[in-house]
């Protein structure tokens, strides 16, 4: 199998709050360091991944974030505008359609439209000849900071859904092209991110099954994020447990310090049982360490990109 970074399009998904944006940014950095021209794509107008690189928003413009790494935040409305422009041809007709209020309401809410144009834009970015834009910028790799697993699957499925709805005609042909690209494992890869906790691991396992059932696609890499170090052995934990009971005068930090150590030991062990649980189900899950930094900045993401380089 080709290395995950040698694909043209990568979707990074997982349960909410597990660090998808961080992992997507780290993957982007890693690929850029290897000399690839990369674009980091954000959906749902959150701009979390690009914030690591710059404070200002990036919007729907392809913006340089770091050497070899660009970013874009996909606005479904703008993506649709771009697509329709290429389809309609005439500027006057385009405006007649696009500026119609009912049409706007309709497209803002019609089932699957936001999803299909978002994934359509992602697909467009991954093409060597960019069909929707006259841009010459070509990317070797598009990394998508995708929505959480449930919605993430919805996005991947959007082209199939649209294909089935449209049956024939230009939309059907477009949807077909996107669907074929996404389901081609040489072109497109899926990366799941989980924390070593019960719910995120369960969601990863379920996502893998649904992806296979519904899309006939496999997950290319499983990332377990935020793994605590194993600082203390079982023997040390026992020593602390007995010392904690007897030690510490009022106001001393000894007791809270040992309590923190025992809590850490307990969490590290619980986490490892979740790692084992995932590894029983899937091959080759890689772990990333928990970084004791309250907010992750560029330095931390760089560190994680090196960790990924060693493990992927």
């Amino acid at each position: 199998m080709a290395h995950v970074l040698d694909k043209r399009l990568l979707f990074v998904t997982g349960k909410g709050g597990v660090g998808k944006s961080t992992v997507a940014a780290a993957l982007g950095l890693l690929a850029a360091r290897r000399g690839k021209r990369v674009i980091l794509c954000e959906l749902a107008q959150q701009e979390r991944a690009s914030r690591v690189f710059r404070d200002e928003g990036i919007g729907f413009e392809e913006t340089e974030l770091a050497s070899g790494l660009a970013g874009i935040s996909i606005d479904p409305q703008r993506a649709m505008e771009e697509y329709l422009r290429t389809q309609v041809g005439s500027r006057a007709l385009f405006r007649l359609l696009f500026e119609n209020r009912i049409f706007q309401y309709f497209t803002a809410a019609a089932p699957g439209v936001r999803e299909i144009v978002s994934i359509g834009k992602v697909w467009e970015l991954a093409q060597l000849e960019r069909p929707w834009t006259k841009k010459s910028s070509r990317y070797d790799l598009v990394v998508v900071d995708a929505p959480a697993t449930g919605h993430g699957l919805g996005i991947l499925r959007a082209p199939r859904t649209m294909r089935d709805i449209a049956r024939v005609g230009p939309i059907r042909r477009q949807a077909d092209r996107i669907d074929t690209f996404i389901r081609d494992s040489r072109q497109t890869g899926i990366v799941t991110v989980a924390l070593p906790e019960e719910m995120p691991v369960t969601e990863t396992i379920e996502f893998r099954v649904r992806l296979l059932d519904e899309m006939k696609m496999a997950v290319d890499a499983f990332v377990i994020n935020g793994l605590y170090p194993e600082r203390f052995s079982g023997k040390e934990a026992r020593a602390m447990t007995s010392a904690e009971a007897t030690s510490g005068s009022d106001g001393s930090l000894a007791r809270p310090a040992m309590r923190a150590a025992l809590a850490e030991h307990h969490r590290a062990r619980t986490q490892r049982s979740q790692v084992r649980r995932l590894r029983k189900e899937v091959d080759g899950a890689v772990t990333l360490p928990y970084l004791f930094e309250p907010e992750l900045g560029l330095a931390e993401v760089e560190r994680l990109s090196h960790e990924l380089e060693r493990r992927l």
């Binding site: 809410a109 089932p111 449930g150 939309i171 030690s247 809270p256 310090a257 309250p294």
Partner: protein, 384 residues
């Protein structure tokens, strides 16, 4: 200074609806369930509507499957977890697709219309779509349960999304779509639509046909036709849900983590609620690192080197040098997190204004996925 925290029971006094909103992964479902259990312990008849609970939590609540019926959580289970209910705790897991179907069944003027809508492909996509209809149907279920009466308090967990605001936006988008039935004039030209809308319409239809293909247009036209007058009912219903959520009976609680991006969102969410005339009840900050130190112990940002050297000497007696050093190193790490989280919470308090309720739930040693876990969270939501 240790900030005073509020009690959820005070926030919910006189309320019959509590909506728990927040970004994905912050622990909304857990907090919603713990609030419901806590209020049941305080004598209320409560129902919690969950969207996507962890299996073990669902199992321990006794709702292993998707089902649109509320089920009573057995009092013995609650007692065993230290949550003895003086009232009743009911729980259900929302099935958005079924809720939508039931709504159509109720609203359809006759069986033929009902079947036409339920079998329409556009409708099926609409009702199956994860994004949008979940939010709409959660609101719908809430309204339905409220109308039926029978509960003192409804607690609603909201669908998982990155953005808490989605919950407020999605239903409106859907209502607009259903209400964009005037589009059928474009979709089916040649009927009276053309006459009303004038000549531009024919051109517009031509463009649409070219862009989408004729099949899709025909399906859309069918959808809007069979939906017909029901659309009005939907819009009216959406208005009533809106009235309910802006009434005094309702309150919104925002669940957030102590990370800055969630905090910023909390603020945005609050001003959006206020703009929409919806009541903001307060914020629950979940998973706050808290070492339980005396107030002045935490105030020294992250502790200082001298203090930690003293601590290491003190611990070395009982634990030996190398373990003592590791314990101190670990303590420093956690203290940095605790200091950050405390500052974050203070910032949120300043931004929200001192008058708003803020409830802190510490980062617990165990993942929460059963009734015992809910009881542990409840101790912080309902401090004695």
């Amino acid at each position: 200074m240790s900030p005073a925290t509020s009690n959820v029971a005070d926030v919910l006094a006189g309320k019959s609806i509590c909506v728990c909103a927040g970004a994905g992964g912050v622990g909304k479902t857990t907090v919603a369930a713990a609030i419901a259990a806590g209020m049941a312990a305080r004598g209320k008849r409560v129902v919690v509507v969950t969207i996507d609970p962890a299996r073990r939590l669902a199992t321990s609540l006794g709702i292993p499957d998707l089902g649109n019926e509320e089920r009573l959580v057995e009092p013995q289970r609650l007692e065993a977890a230290g949550l003895a209910p003086n009232g009743e705790l009911w729980a259900m897991m929302l099935d958005p697709k079924r809720t939508f179907d039931e709504l159509v069944e109720r609203r359809a003027p006759d069986a033929a219309t009902r079947d036409a809508v339920l079998s329409n492909r556009i409708y099926q996509e609409l009702s199956n779509a994860v994004a949008g209809s979940q939010e709409y149907m959660a609101m719908e279920k809430l309204y339905e349960l409220h109308e039926e009466g029978g509960y003192d308090l409804l607690v609603l967990d909201t669908p998982p999304s990155r953005n808490a605001l989605d919950f407020l936006d999605a239903p409106e988008r859907l209502a607009r779509f259903i209400d964009s039935r005037s589009l059928q004039f474009f979709l089916a030209p040649g009927r009276r639509g053309l006459r009303i809308l004038g000549r531009g319409t024919g051109v517009l239809f031509g463009v649409l046909k070219r862009v989408t293909g004729i099949d899709l247009l025909a399906d859309l036209s069918d959808f809007f036709q069979s939906f017909g007058d029901m659309a009005e009912g939907f819009t009216e219903r959406a208005n009533r849900v809106n009235q309910l959520l802006t009434s005094r009976a309702a309150t919104f609680l925002l669940v957030t983590s102590p990370q800055s991006e969630s905090m910023e969102e909390a603020e945005l969410f609050r001003s959006r609620l206020l703009d929409d005339g919806m009541p903001f009840g307060g914020a629950v900050v979940n998973r706050v690192h808290d070492l339980g130190l005396a107030a002045d112990g935490d105030a020294k940002a992250g502790g200082d080197a001298g203090e930690h050297a003293d601590l290491e000497r003190e611990l070395a007696g009982a634990l030996g040098d190398s373990l003592a050093a590791k314990v101190v190193r670990n303590f420093e790490d956690y203290r940095a997190l605790a200091t950050h989280d405390r500052a974050s919470v203070e910032r949120l308090r300043d931004r929200l204004g001192r008058g708003e309720s803020l409830i802190l739930v510490p980062y617990l040693d165990e993942d929460v996925h059963d009734l015992a876990g809910l009881a542990a969270v409840g101790e912080h939501l309902f401090p004695a």
